[in-house]
Amino acid sequence: MDGRAALGELRAAGVRNTERQEGGRPAWEGIILALDPLRWWVS
């Protein structure tokens, strides 16, 4: 897997890890998270 493909997986894993919830809590699946830049950065 080249770096660009790895980045695609990283983005997908980040979204998956962030969105997945179990019983109202984030489920554990990996270490990368997707941050919402508009909320995290700009506001």
């Binding site: 660009r4 990283l10 554990w28 270490i31 508009l38």
Partner: protein, 403 residues
């Protein structure tokens, strides 16, 4: 990918470089190198906490260094001394208090220490370990780790309160330039003539600049790059095989390299940073996403950690971040670790890393906030696909580098 010609050191071929992901792997490799040292161990330190311990029961950093000294190895430590403007950071630094001298007399009487200030309000922020400089077996470690318990962690970050760091283990010709940098700093360390500005048997002597380039031992092309504030050092002795460099005028090759590399990116830019608020670099990232380059920025997942004094200000910053935020090619990521309670805990991304287009990277101690490009930093830029892929793959959970 272009390197830069604006610094003290040339591009050197024939290096062997190994990425070390997170502090436990890095400090283990550093300790193994120190334990095997034949002649000398030279270290530059920014932050050192009293409670820091080296891995696998080796004890404090002073225990490790004194053990080498007792074997006849010459051990030198260059430590940052904060000024009044940075006095609040003394709690995290080994700045030469009376207590620190007592600790040295007690734990490491055989090592030599000099203290070095930065420009007022700034920090001596090079984090380098150099073992057996001048010998064929010389190696160096360049990275971001501080000597505190938050750094002594492994990839996966199982636990709470963890930092994420990246370092490089390096052998070959660029080690000579890392040696040159240490000699320059040691010889002109600001506190060297002060009674409380040095410690130990070799603290009064000056060091000779290297005259021979370390032998090639690998295939990685690399360059040592720095930020050196104008007027901080004056000796313009050239690195071996390279022209003289007027260091008194300052060096900003890290900044130049970041801009060159982002400007040359064709496919992607991957960054791990505490913050990105340097205007020209943000503008370069905006230009990159606008021409179709994927930009992935991994930062501390708790934003408050970087919304402090180091952050930039102004409408331009908000606008640049808004453009990035709305770009489909931009991804802002954070890291989290799983605690013993099964809950997710934020990881503080403390690495200073950029990878471009699958073949080029820079790793070191240079943040990208408003202090970073004015104070003393050291990075190594390198071209080697095998080396640069490891951090991305580790963050994605695909496979790691050295663990």
């Amino acid at each position: 990918m272009p390197f830069v010609g604006t610094g003290a050191y040339p591009v050197r071929v024939g290096n062997a470089v190994r990425p070390l992901l997170d502090g436990a792997a890095a400090f283990r490799a550093i300790c193994e190198a120190i334990d095997g040292a034949q002649a000398r161990v030279w270290v530059t330190v920014t932050f050192l906490w009293a409670g820091f311990r080296m891995p696998e029961g080796r004890g404090s950093v002073f225990t490790v260094l004194e053990r080498a000294s007792q074997r006849g190895v010459e051990v030198r430590l260059l430590c940052w001394r904060p000024d009044e403007a940075t006095a609040e950071l003394r709690a995290n630094a080994f700045w030469g208090s009376a207590g620190h001298f007592d600790q040295l007399r007690r734990e490491a009487p055989g090592i030599s220490v000099r203290w070095d200030r930065a420009q007022p309000g700034f920090c001596q922020h090079q984090k380098v370990w150099l073992v057996d400089a001048g010998l064929d077996t010389a190696c160096a470690f360049v990275g971001s780790m501080n000597l505190n318990p938050h750094s002594m962690v492994a990839p996966g970050h199982a636990g709470a309160g963890q930092n994420h760091d990246v370092a490089l283990a390096i052998r070959g010709p660029v080690v000579t330039d890392i040696q040159h940098n240490f000699v320059q700093r040691w010889n002109e360390a600001s506190e060297r003539h002060e009674a409380d500005g040095r410690f130990g048997p070799g603290a009064e002597g000056e060091l000779a600049f290297p005259g021979v380039i370390a032998a090639a031992c690998g295939t990685t092309v690399a360059q040592v790059q720095r930020t050196i504030h104008a007027g901080r050092y004056t000796a313009s002795v050239p690195a071996p095989g390279h022209g003289a460099f007027e260091v008194a005028r300052g060096e900003y090759s890290i900044r130049d390299q970041y801009l060159e590399a982002i400007g040359a990116a064709r496919e992607y830019v991957y960054l791990e940073q505490q913050a990105v608020s340097v205007r020209p670099i943000l503008e370069a990232l905006v230009a990159a996403v606008e021409r179709g380059v994927v930009v992935v920025l991994v930062v501390p997942s708790v934003a408050d950690r970087i919304h402090g004094a180091a952050e930039g200000r102004g409408a331009w910053l908000r606008e640049a971040r808004r453009v990035l935020a709305l770009s489909p090619g931009f991804f802002l990521g954070g890291l989290a670790g799983c605690g013993v309670d099964g809950a997710r805990h934020p990881v503080h991304v403390h690495a200073k890393l950029m990878i471009v287009d699958d073949g080029w990277a820079t790793v070191g101690s240079c943040n990208l906030h408003r202090y970073s490009l004015e104070e003393q930093r050291l990075n190594v830029a390198l071209a080697d696909p095998a080396v640069v892929r490891a951090p991305v793959r580790a963050a994605a959970g695909i496979s790691g580098g050295t663990r």
